[in-house]
């Protein structure tokens, strides 16, 4: 048997020698060394990200001074703005400022609104996560549960019907879901508010996020269900499942304990790969439902060529991606102790 879905770590069968305590300590040391090594590897990766973002922005990002100068401005005023923003500095100076900002985690203020970037992230992440975290939990639970169920009855009419529904669901644009759901469930039926955001977490979660979560769940569950189903089918066809059946284990135990455990590694990979996306919010959902989340800020920052905000978000997402990959590797180990980190 070989664990699947391993983007970062490599694995080999564990062969513990000596006493169990000694083996445990040895294992801890290996994990610690692995984490330190991976953290070190983040430095050149982050430098690469910084360089790439810097080159891309300077190449295609646009010059915000012309917008900030207003309707009627002369070149002198535009130059004054460029000087204040620092975009008149030599390229290497601007790059060094970027690196210092990353090191100090201080990206200054938005060029267009003068709001501190730290404040933008602090105030916009909450609303995005209010929608996305419950969505992630619900989506994972439903997709895994349904995928396991249809994998269990693979080839049956139910399985085929579910797959057809999933394929149709996948083919429809998220925009259609939003427009139709908002029109019927919010406007026509009045089950939810059409849009808005309240003052308390409870109100936001239970009242204003309900329809956005429902829509996002409808959109995301179909591809995830199909994906997880293939993970489960891969496992169901393995020899160990036949052996378990031959030993007389119940189907429930085989599916929920053995199959689920062995399929968990690619599922973890998939889930962890999606985690950094939480930092980017859900742009369309946030726009349609007037949720003051980070997704709207991302688009506004790009539209306004607001480089401090773009820089901060890119760096944080890059860091979150690397961190979630590391976390995923550690979770492989937790899910399957035979996995060895090296």
């Amino acid at each position: 048997m070989s664990p699947k879905g391993r983007p970062e770590g490599e694995y080999r069968s564990a062969q513990h020698k000596g006493s169990p305590v000694g083996a445990l300590r040895g294992e801890e040391a290996v994990v610690t060394a692995y984490i330190i090594r991976r953290l070190w590897q983040m430095i050149p990766t982050m430098l690469g990200v910084i360089l790439l973002v810097f080159i891309l922005f300077n190449w295609v990002g646009g010059d915000p001074a012309y917008v900030l100068a207003g309707k009627i401005a002369n070149q002198e005023q535009i130059d004054n703005i460029r000087r204040q923003l620092g975009v008149d500095q030599p390229v290497w100076v601007q790059l060094w400022i970027f690196i210092k900002q990353v090191l100090t985690a201080d990206f200054g203020a938005s060029w267009s609104t003068n709001e501190r970037v730290s404040n933008i992230l602090a105030t916009r992440l909450g609303p995005s996560l209010t929608v996305l975290v419950p969505l992630l939990i619900l989506d994972t639970m439903f997709a895994i549960g349904l995928a396991l169920a249809v994998a269990y009855v693979r080839g049956s009419l139910t399985d085929r019907l579910v797959m057809i529904v999933c394929t149709i669901g996948l083919s429809i644009s998220v925009l259609v879901y939003i427009i139709v759901f908002q029109y019927f469930f919010a406007y026509k039926l009045g089950w939810f508010p059409v849009q808005g955001w309240g003052n308390s977490f409870r109100e936001n979660l239970l009242v204003f996020s309900a329809l956005p979560i429902l829509i996002a769940l409808t959109v995301s569950i179909a591809p995830n269900l199909r994906l997880y189903r293939t993970f489960f089918l891969d496992e169901i066809n393995q020899d160990y499942v036949r052996t378990a059946r031959a030993k007389g284990l119940s189907e429930n135990r085989i599916m929920w304990i053995h199959v689920l455990r062995n399929a968990s590694i690619p599922i973890i990979t998939h889930l962890m790969a999606g985690l950094p996306g939480l930092l980017l919010g859900a742009f369309l959902i946030e726009r349609f439902f007037s949720i003051p989340g980070i997704g709207r800020e991302v688009i506004l920052a790009v539209e306004r060529s607001d480089f401090p905000v773009i820089k901060a978000l890119t760096v944080y997402v890059a860091f979150a991606t690397m961190a979630s990959n590391l976390l995923a590797d550690l979770m492989y180990k937790a899910a399957d102790p035979r996995v060895q980190l090296k």
């Binding site: 012309y66 100068a69 204040q84 609104t113 508010p193 808005g196 726009r287 003051p292």
Partner: protein
Amino acid sequence: MIALPLRTVVGASALAVSLALAGPAIAPAAAADMDKVIRHVFPAGEEGFDPAAAHDLYSGTVEQAIFDTLLTYDYLARPAKLVPLAAEALPQVSDGGQTYTLKVRKGIFFTPDPAFKGAKRELVADDFVYSWKRLMDPKVRSPWTWLFAGKIVGLDEAAERAKTSGRFDYDAKIAGLEALDRYTLVIRLKQPDYNLPYVLAHEPTSAVAREVVAAYADEGGRVMSNPVGTGPYRLAKWIRSSKIILEANPDFRGFVWDFKPGPGPEDAQIVKEMKGKKMPQVGRIEISIMEEDQSRLLAFQNGELDLMNMEGPLAPKVLNGGTLTPDMQKKGVKLSRFVDPELTYHYWNLTDPVVGGLSKEKIALRRAMAMAYPVEEEIKVVRNGQAVEAQFPIPPGVVGHDPAYKSSIRYDPAGANALLDKFGYRKGADGWRTLPDGKPLVIRYASRPESVGRQLDEMWKKAFDAIGIRMEVQKEKFVELLKLEKQCKLMMRTAAWIADYPDADNFMQLLYGKNIHQSNNACAAIPEYDKLYEQSLRTPDSPERNRLYHEMAKIIEAYAPWRLDISRYRNMLVQPRVLGFKKHPILHAEWQYIDVAAGAK
């Protein structure tokens, strides 16, 4: 409204005639009912609320509710008419239009704020002097510098000194900007400027308190998030780009609603609903930012919004041409509709080697392109019927507009083809025309990568195909378009200009040669036009000035730096519970003039 005594206007008498109006009478404060709520919507986020620093429409709307300018516009008068606000009366003009004297109304106080350290802070003339200096402070990098730049004696020099020293000296006396005493303000101009009163009604010239700037300014000397003004409302809560809550300023001086109705039943009904009421009536304004058309419309139809501007793409859903659909009428929804004081036009860069220049064959090329463009089709297809064709470079609602004027440039593809043939733009074997010297002729049309931009691409492609001219589309982000435009590097683009103030000059300056690299995006330097424009600056609003504008309009048609396109309708949807609402063409915020029906809180 009790009329204040009119001031005698000295000097520029023509201006005096147009400005001779008094402001609203002061009423006991705190008339507002905090249970009365108006729910408004913006389709885009706001920058912040520093009158000197923010330059988007939505920030300006909120600023108008929080701050006071010296002058404002009469709520019902059309065309827009200036009346005093923080000033006691309209300005006295002397020295042949070069000196303006205004008295700040006594007893106006800023909203209490910790910046004032517990003292009650009265608005004085020095507050305006300080606020206007901020527009010129390089550190603030105000987008409104142009309102005063080059106009006031000594102000540009003060700004120059600030560039050298790195600090604007707010304490230094400026000859052209003087507070003679606590309430008297004198403005001395370098040359007569008959538009200055309009500038004094524009929200960037609102009064801010120096103590507030000292207490809350950011690194750029801007106070975007702590607006403290003397207006009818104060900022109670702000979630950036999401929610803005305004509450009635309990210390606001108030006024009694007494505006004179114009002709027509709409104004009569408004007067019936509002006359004699102490204002403001509405205690709370809740503004939501909703970027999506569908969300705004559904929220309005669901009763979650009271006021909503109906943008073009939504219009067919609730409008049959210029009236509400029966469904909306049945719900009692009201429509406040007029042609916006704005102009959309297509321009060609007159410094471009292909389409630019003042030679006959270049003029013929531009005129042919202008004649090939079907404006009526654009109104129908792109604008959903929510626009009128522009015939004159000064749009409706703006002083100097002539509704009877008809442009000589008409949609005439056959005429356009004949013109091109005549001037040597011959068609090759492939069906496409070449330049008179035989070189390829390709027009590069620049636009934004959004839906209206794409629709205009298609409209122009069709027009160019009809006259055998190859067209390429140059897609750029808005910021890049602005940059290339100001550098005169675009060949052709569609642009729009909305009135900052309702005077012809705000539009006619768009083709003035000295405004190249600023607002003259056609990069046009046409000597005859420039001469007439300079003459118009020296002439107050009068038949003589209108004659100059007619001549300038003819020059635009003759040289064709522009193809006049459209002016769009403003359609404001109003819930039946809202009383006294009429969209003003220049004012952004009408909340202080309206009410909510009893029992409909």
